[in-house]
Symmetry: C2
Subunit: 192 residues, 2 copies
DNA sequence: GTCTATATCGCGATAGAC
DNA sequence: GTCTATCGCGATATAGAC
């Protein structure tokens, strides 16, 4: 199991740095200090490595992206969640950078993403519903909830890429700007 | 000049449909009904074709994305502009789908994009400034202007990809949802 | 301007020894 | 589980005839 994980972390580093296109299985093997044959013993091909990395990301999301279970969420809870989310995303920057292209190229990966997304998206809508019922938010119009969810999703999945594209560093400051953006979108609905 | 344009429109169709990765110069030549050698007479390589397509897109933006020059912009003018913008974007879907990856792979393309973006981004800020001066918007805090510009940019550049990723059709209805989203973000600042 | 033919290269993937 | 060796393939790119 040790080698398998070593391959994954090596591949992750290369993908983040150069993009999945420019990185071949040979490059990964060389950087990992193993033979190409050995890499193929552990993974059928590059797509399978990418899928495994996505599974890692997804697992981290499931574990780390939790609101406090025993009380209603506050705006600060939400902010902490957003920060955690961006931090995880940055570790797997290549996935979000090449999102649509990866999904287009690998239907299996797309399916895994759609499942995860459905959980998150409808979880978000459920959260809003709970908040509305508790009187914490005045957001009840379904169309408005959809719009809010769409905007939040856009920020979550594309803010880091947007920084990259525009030539701005994907550092802590850039990350904070994303958090700030998200909070400004959300705050009006938390007017208690 | 005829063949060159024919190659470009053929390549555009293939790229939009299958992604730049899956499409080789041979595929383009075959689909265009010419020989690979002929393609290389007109373009040095695939990157050059992509750059030429980006130049087309950029030119269309410059021509079609204009607010009325002789009077102050209304919210309806802005909506028309947003609609035009999405329409152009959809024609060149592959570029936005693979945005960060393309920019990372080709510094020359990235440079061209950064120039175009700077024009648009600062043009947007200038527009806000004009509106503020005319009393059409109450938006004067620079940080707030930046946030608004950032959100609008995110919607512009990533809404179509977001539709694709989430498995929703990139049709007129999806496009209208993007316009709707953008207008809901902008409208508060147009409270006349 | 366009074609055919071809050289080169490197990636993906497998077989078989250890 | 890991290595070495290697095959087949297809993509990029060029040369030279027409």
């Amino acid at each position: 199991m040790k080698t398998k994980e070593h391959i994954l972390s090596t591949a992750l580093g290369l993908f983040n740095q150069k993009g999945t296109n420019a990185v071949t299985t040979n490059h990964i093997a060389e950087a990992a200090g193993i033979s190409p044959g050995n890499l193929y013993y552990h993974f059928r091909n590059k797509d399978e490595i990418i899928r495994a990395l996505y599974a890692q990301l997804s697992a981290r999301n499931d574990v780390e992206l939790q609101l406090p279970p025993n009380r209603l969420a506050t705006i600060d809870d939400v902010q902490a969640l957003v920060r955690t989310n961006f931090t995880i995303l940055r570790d797997y920057a290549f996935i979000y950078r090449e999102f649509a292209a990866l999904m287009q190229a690998d239907p299996e990966l797309h399916k895994a993403y759609l499942t995860a997304r459905a959980r998150g998206y409808f979880g978000f809508r459920a959260l809003i519903a709970v908040l509305a019922q508790a009187g914490i938010t005045n957001l009840s119009d379904p169309a408005a909830v959809t719009r809010l969810a769409d905007i939040c999703w856009l920020i979550t999945e594309f803010w880091l890429s947007s920084l990259e594209i525009s030539g701005q560093p994907v550092d802590d400051a850039g990350l904070e700007r994303g958090i700030d953006l998200m909070m400004h979108v959300l705050r009006p609905y938390f007017a208690v």
